[in-house]
Amino acid sequence: MAAGRIRKAAVTLALIVGVLVWFSVLMVFSPLAQDSDDFSRALPWILLVNLVGIALLLLLILISVLRLIRDYRRHVPGSRLKARMMIMLVVLAVSPLLIVYAFAVQFINRGIDSWFDVDVEQGLGSALELSQTALSLQTREHLGDVQSMALYLATSTRTDVVGELGELRRDSGAAELTIFTANDQILVTSSANPALTVPQPPTDEVILQLGQGDDYLSLEPQADGSFEVLAAVNLSPGTLGGEPRILQARFDVDQELGVLANVVGASYEQYAELSYLREALKTNFTVMLTIVLLITLLAAVYGAFFSARRLVVPIQQLMTGTRAVARGDFDTRLPIPAQDEIGFLINSFNDMTQRLARARKEARLSQQQVESERRKVEVILARLSTGVVSLETDLRIRTANRSAGAILGVDLDSHLGESLVTLSDTYPLLSQFLAVSRSHLDRGDYEWREQIVLRGEAGRRVLMCACTALSGEQEDPGGYIVVFDDITALLQAQRDAAWGEVARRLAHEIKNPLTPIQLSAERLRRRYLGGHYADSELLDRATHTIIQQVEAMKEMVNAFSDYARTPDMDLSRFDLNQLIAEVAELYRHPEQPRSLTLDLDSDLLNVEADEGRMRQVLHNLIRNALEAMEHQTAEEISISTRHFDDGGIELVEIKVTDNGPGFMDDIVDQAFDPYVTSKVKGTGLGLAIVKKLIEEHGGQIFARNSKRGGAEIVILLPVTREAGDAMLSATHRHDKRRERA
């Protein structure tokens, strides 16, 4: 962030410095301020730098334009806006520049032209002419002097030519007077300042002109700014010997006149030069102006691109961000370009996406919570021994837990979505359940509670059933939830408890008075039976009856007390199969035609149980079966054992089957209740005690009629004590086993 800011500042600084340097160079570049040699040398470089700048800008602009066109064709978001903004900015920047440029060019041309004035030109021309005339007068005068000197020399007869020439020079006021031979040899010379210079030989021009027979006269500007008049004439043939001679004279022009003439000449030249340079100057200004314009213009165009891009970039980002949000990506965060309105907009956008993201996260969280709650409820429902079924209003199954299926004898999980009505045809328990439910629902009674008794093959099943309506639209229910509990076992337990209590009371209340009654009867017999009383026979019979009945009552009470008694368990490991075989052997009599078949599982090893109790169980069961078949000719009893593993719990199944009349339908559920019996003989406590003993081992017992006719008692006994504990705790398995049974 800080580095970016520093870079930005550096770029801005570099730009400002660059523009300043360029501007100052252009200032120096001004065509009027260029006299130094250094500048003249730098000029091409300055030009080159500017041209390079122009080329660079053109390249940048070209790249930008190409990119814009590409974006436009590809429909990149924001490209249209960028193009429009770009065109607008370019037009805004370029049009005033062009107008200023046109005016400036016009202004320069007119301005430069206005420097020059016809009157000034004429005046200077006239002044020059005047100076020339003034000088010309003097020069002609000097030529006249030289001509006279030539004539004089031609007629002179003096032999002292040097002296004569010196006199002539002094008289005429010449600075130098020399006579040359035809081949430029100095013949005689006289100079005002002889030590200073050697006389210059006549130039080609002089010789040429004199060769044509004319005199030579010229005004020669000197390097120091003064003027010199050079006049040369041919000396008459024969003068100073026979060869042709040249007389050349140099005169200094009057200094005052020379200076004045020089001033005029310089002014004229300056004006003439300036006038000549006018067009070049205009061109220069125009070129300069054009270069400055081009750079400025291109910079403005590029600037337009740049600012359009900078303006559009946040908008593009915003568009991209909006699309991302529309796609559901709330994690988009846009960089904030500046603290302006667009920055505010982007800030708001970021804020919005953040809130959306948070809201979605919260929604997801709560959804997860709901889901986990639902799962928990599901687990609870699954583990619940209570059956829970939710139904649509048309009695289709929406959900059902496992217990519901187990209680109703249907695998409801595989019938989800099906109507109870159609299922009830195949499942008798369900049809009874449905009948009760419908009787309420059809009446419009959605909230009800009732105890239902279902009758099936395995016996009676008592359900406590409650129904409630799910809230739906308006007053109609959105469905029903039916909750039911199999309270058969509960009722059974209650009954068992009640019987236990009865047995204890009987043992206590009845057994106590029986002993005194018996003792009293026996005393009566001892005292009065030996004598000879008239009623001794009666007494004998009566006391005998009393004693006998008391004995029977005692027996009965003992049986009851046995039932109620819960002596400590004496667990040991023994071979159950062997025990069964031993007990069964006791019931085999050669004179009695009965079949007693054993089908014992050889896999079964030792069982941990109370051997005495198990022996009693077997005795009771066999005796019960024999009693049931008392009037039959062919008695068949079969005992089988089977060893199996039910979900980690080792069990042994003992099945005792007979071919008697079986249980009557109405008592099949109460077969293990005391005094529930269909037999003539027996106390009615046999099966009740068996059940009690098995339950003490943690096992279970069921009674049913076998398919071949006859009764079938099934015992499920845990092989070890641990298995028994596990079996008691795993309540849900109870249902399963019962289902299987």
């Binding site: 000029l43 100076s131 010229s218 030249e269 030069e273 340079l277 070129v287």
Partner: protein, 205 residues
């Protein structure tokens, strides 16, 4: 007349760079400036007609004949009072095998040619000596400029007697000293770039 050694090299390099850039300028800067020479205008021509070197008492002297013909544009500028600088460049090159020739010494003789309006004469100023002469016509002025006689070039002792030397000479109109406004034009106007080809010959021992 004097002998100029390596110290003038920089200036000559600059002059050369300027001319090279001129081409670039012409190529890149297609500005709508008026086209210079019209068809009938004389483009001018500088040419070395002959040149020779003579060794006399240990010094090499140059004799050369240069033909100067100013372009119409340059003549117009001259007549308007613009002083023109005409340079004659002489270079001694040492031939080297497998490598570029080495520039041993160079000499630049500059003359300023100017029209003097008051006297209506053409002045020629020797920039090296400060000697000035005047001519009635441009022809005689240029003719005088073109006759180079006995220009002392270099002391023979300064040259390696074993090496082979090439001498080359050329004449050119210097655009470095013309007035500013013309300088810019001179970059892309043909009639301001007046220079002769190099005239090269081998120095005889």
């Amino acid at each position: 007349m004097n002998l100029v050694g390596h110290n003038k090299m920089a200036a000559s390099r600059w002059g050369f760079s300027a001319r090279a850039l001129e081409t670039v300028a012409v190529a890149v800067l297609a500005l709508g400036v008026q086209q210079s020479a019209q068809a009938q205008d004389d483009p001018g021509r500088f040419e070395i007609r002959s040149a020779s070197v003579e060794l006399r008492s240990g010094v090499y002297y140059l004799d050369a004949w240069v033909e100067y013909r100013l372009s119409t544009e340059a003549r117009a500028a001259l007549d308007a009072g613009v002083a023109l600088t005409l340079d004659t460049e002489v270079e001694f090159l040492r031939s080297r095998r497998f490598w570029f020739d080495d520039e041993e010494a160079n000499l630049r003789q500059g003359y300023e040619l100017q029209y003097h309006a008051l006297s209506e004469r053409y002045l020629v100023l020797n920039l090296n000596s400060g000697e000035q002469s005047s001519f009635a016509t441009l022809f005689s002025a240029l003719n005088s400029l073109g006759r180079i006689t006995e220009l002392p070039l270099i002391d023979a002792a300064l040259l390696d007697s074993d090496a082979t030397y090439d001498i080359r000479i050329r004449a050119l109109l210097s655009t470095e000293d013309i007035p500013g406004p013309l300088r810019l034009l001179a970059f892309w106007r043909r009639d301001w770039s007046l220079e002769s080809e190099w005239y090269t010959w081998q120095l005889d021992e």
